[in-house]
């Protein structure tokens, strides 16, 4: 029970996901919402890497690339998260320049 195995990492991932979801759902500040999205992506990453470490690798075309496929997926998630953060924060700054506010409820027009 106390010996750490796959389940413990999955529990950490699940709780991270829940905290991220609460952040996305309850924040008014757009920067806070983006922080919640980072938490969600990190929760998925913890699951990917934990599965990669604890489940048996599969083979593809006679080679066992499956030994690190979970980590490769996690790397793609990190790349996408970085892109999402850059574009998201640029949009937040653009909204702030036009409304002097980062409240997501005020961002309801595409242009003034």
């Amino acid at each position: 029970m106390l010996n750490v195995s796959l389940t413990h990492y999955l529990v950490v991932g699940a709780l991270l996901f829940c905290f991220g979801m609460v952040t996305v759902a309850t924040r008014r500040n757009a920067v806070g919402v983006l922080m919640g999205i980072e938490l969600l992506l990190n929760a998925a990453n913890v699951n990917f890497v934990a599965f990669n470490h604890y489940l048996p690798p599969e083979t593809w075309a006679g080679q066992t690339f499956g030994e690190v496929s979970g980590q490769v997926f996690a790397l793609f998630v990190i790349v996408l998260a970085a892109a999402e953060a850059a574009v998201g924060l640029a949009i937040v700054l653009a909204i702030f320049q036009s409304t002097r506010n980062t409240d997501v409820r005020d961002a309801n027009v595409m242009r003034e």
């Binding site: 195995s5 500040n29 913890v46 890497v49 489940l55």
Partner: protein, 212 residues
């Protein structure tokens, strides 16, 4: 009164800084140097390795809770720092050394700095109620209580086909091989996406010049 508050604040900041430095040191030590301590030495109920996991998991979840429930968006950013560092340290425990360093470089060095810049640029510092919530604490806790039991039930009860004897091994070479053979197309697409992101972010965030 103010001096006492200031000293308390200084002590808490010093504590936080020490904690962060210890975490970074721990990650570097585990990645670079071989582990000298016997990881399966028993310490009461749990082994030493398990104890490290519990401490890191608690730190990660405390940071995430800070992101979710803090009143000030700057404190949320500090919580995000703790959560990201904790996740990176968990990667080390899962024998994902390259991923841990990438987490440190991309998330802490890139995304978190970007978030902090956005906070500083868009917030009037000291106006706490700029960053309060809309659904409120009750809605957040309700959402948490609705989602967490389902995820935890699946995580605990599902019969995962465990592969018990996986030793720790360096993964950088394997990841490079996988990127340039099996995942070549997604890898190149990711580079295209990053280029588009760079251009798009600059175009969106630059100051509007009047069209005349």
């Amino acid at each position: 009164m103010t001096t006492r508050r200031n000293s308390v604040r200084f002590a808490s900041w010093a504590f936080l800084t020490l904690l962060v430095l210890a975490l970074v040191g721990f990650m570097g030590w585990r990645v670079i140097g071989p582990l000298q301590v016997q990881a399966d030495a028993r310490l009461g109920l749990v082994t030493l390795g398990d104890l490290v996991f519990y401490v890191l998991a608690a730190l990660t979840l405390a940071g995430a809770a800070g992101v979710a429930f803090s009143r000030n968006v700057l404190h949320s950013a500090i919580g995000l720092l703790m959560a990201l560092l904790g996740v990176g340290a968990l990667y080390v425990l899962l024998s994902a050394d390259f991923l841990a360093v990438t987490q440190l470089l991309v998330y802490i060095g890139g995304v978190l700095v970007l978030v902090l810049f956005a906070v500083m640029l868009t917030n009037r510092i000291g106006e706490v109620n700029v960053s309060n919530r809309s659904v409120g604490l009750a809605g957040g806790v309700g959402l948490f209580l609705a989602a967490a039991p389902i995820l935890l039930f699946v995580a605990v009860r599902a019969p995962w086909p465990l592969d018990p004897a996986r030793p720790m091994f360096p993964t950088t070479e394997l990841i490079g091989d996988a990127f340039l053979s099996r995942w070549l197309l997604p890898f190149e697409l990711a580079s295209l996406l990053l280029l588009a992101t760079l251009i798009g972010a600059v175009v969106i965030a630059r100051k509007e010049t009047s069209a005349e």
